[in-house]
């Protein structure tokens, strides 16, 4: 008797999850290197005795849209963008983390660091130190940073067999979740640019409106079922 209510509720819970993911995408519309998230659903089948199977909806996984975001021209010599696949390797107190956000700065020791102060690693897993009297920092396509006085180090750009399994840690960082990082051979890094967020505002706003309407229609189903139950009770309890 209450099956409709349960199906309706499972639908609403799923829609709510989805709108939260959409809200997070819209909030990160201007976050460098951000990858939009999407949510997947599956049906959860229950087969009551003697009745037909009931399919409820259940959230199943979030996945990232891995398309590359637009490049934003910043003219800052310490802003780098990776063209194609790959992640910068960042050293944090919790271990190596990975990022697509190439907006770096120098710290007191002239080490290349992220905006949160974590060191960016070179291919030998050491920090990249810019000499004190270097005036011009340049990067070649393969990620080698140099100044007018010579090479400084090569950015460690890695990729993973399963990028979907990377865990987002906030601060534009990813955790590899135990996956081994493979050095990217064919890479291209450019300077003075940042990779923008790949969130497409049109798609997200559209999805949000759609979700909102679906939520309302699910509500309508619940409402109708409620009325039906009420009517049934009233009719059945009327004296003959």
């Amino acid at each position: 008797m209450e099956n409709i209510t349960y199906i309706g509720i499972s639908h609403q819970v799923a829609l709510q999850q989805q709108i939260e993911v959409t809200a997070n995408n819209i909030a990160n519309m201007n976050t460098p290197g951000f990858k939009a998230n999407n949510i997947l659903f599956t049906d959860y089948v229950t087969a009551p005795k003697g009745g037909e199977a009931i399919h409820q909806s259940q959230d199943y996984a979030t996945y990232s849209d891995l398309t590359i975001g637009n490049l934003i021209q910043t003219s800052n010599s310490l802003d780098f963008a990776i063209h194609g696949d790959g992640y910068f390797t960042i050293s944090t107190p919790e271990g190596a983390r990975y990022s697509r956000d190439g907006g770096f700065a120098l710290n007191l020791n002239r080490e290349l660091v992220t905006k949160t102060g974590h060191r960016v690693l070179n291919e030998n897993d050491n920090s990249i130190v810019v000499p004190a009297d270097a005036a011009q920092i340049r990067i070649s396509d393969d990620g080698t940073i140099s100044s007018e006085q010579g090479d400084i180090g090569r950015l460690k750009i890695v990729n993973f067999d399963n990028q979907q399994a990377l865990k987002k840690m906030g601060d534009n960082l990813y955790d590899a979740q135990g996956q081994s990082a493979n050095l990217v051979v064919n890479r291209k890094v450019t300077q003075g640019q940042l990779e923008g967020s790949n969130v497409n505002p049109v798609v997200e706003m559209n999805r949000m409106i759609q979700l909102m309407r679906m939520f309302q229609s699910a509500q309508k189903i619940l409402q109708n079922d409620h009325d039906r139950q009420l009517g049934a009770i009233q009719k059945l309890t009327q004296p003959a």
């Binding site: 999850q17 709108i19 939260e20 809200a23 997070n24 995408n25 819209i26 909030a27 990160n28 519309m29 201007n30 976050t31 460098p32 951000f34 998230n37 949510i39 997947l40 959230d59 996984a61 979030t62 996945y63 021209q73 910043t74 003219s75 800052n76 956000d101 907006g103 700065a105 120098l106 710290n107 007191l108 020791n109 002239r110 905006k115 949160t116 004190a132 009297d133 005036a135 399963n162 979907q164 399994a165 865990k167 987002k168 840690m169 906030g170 601060d171 534009n172 135990g178 505002p201 997200e204 706003m205 949000m208 409106i209 979700l211 909102m212 939520f215 309302q216 509500q219 619940l222 409402q223």
Partner: protein, 262 residues
Amino acid sequence: MSLTLDIGATGMLAQQLNVDVISNNIANMTTTGYKRQRAEFQDLLYQTKIRPGASSSDQGTTIPAGIQQGLGVKAGSVYRINEQGALQITGNQFDIANKGAGYFQITLPNGETAFSRDGSFQVNQNGEMVTAKGFQLQPGITIPPDAVDVTINATGQVLVKIQNQTNLSQVGQIQTALFANEAGLDAIGDNLFLETEASGNAVVGNPGDDGYGALEQGALETSNVNIVQEITSLIQAQRAYEMNSKVIQAGDEMLTTITQMR
């Protein structure tokens, strides 16, 4: 559901900061030696609802991606882009532009040393070179009252021509300061900066030396604000702000739908 409202709010706050930074850049479009700023954002923490890699059966199958719910956005940093500004010829003999790295040193009234890219100097009643606020250039340079012409060369030497003398005489040497991390300087307004632990100590040297920019007399370094870029960013930021407000509206409407449930 309230997550939607909160996430939308973080987005609005972030875009508010973005607009604030952009408006300050536009306001300082014609400020001598001003370096434009950029706000940068980072995603907030994630809530893990289903952990990626959790086993989905006793046959060793695992969930490939899991469910991660992001909680919005935050301001990562607002940083100065220390790109060289264009030189504007003013013809004023006490206007000096720095054509490379290095800050002029200014003595504040409290004795502290501040640093500036603004080279529009004047002479006070004692013949000392001072900023528009009357703060003295360091090392102090005094122009004799009988000087008819002042030449400041690329390496910072201040030479004056005294009436009835054939040779120029040197009255001082302008020195500039370099920092390990310019972005770490503390801006105090009036085009002045203070050194901080993050910037490192000032390394003072003569203009034109290795690493130090040469000087140009009769010119000023304009602000490096690119107005086309700023206006475009302003439009983007405002639209992003609007979209985040729509998210809040949507969350609100969904809450209304729920409260209508009997």
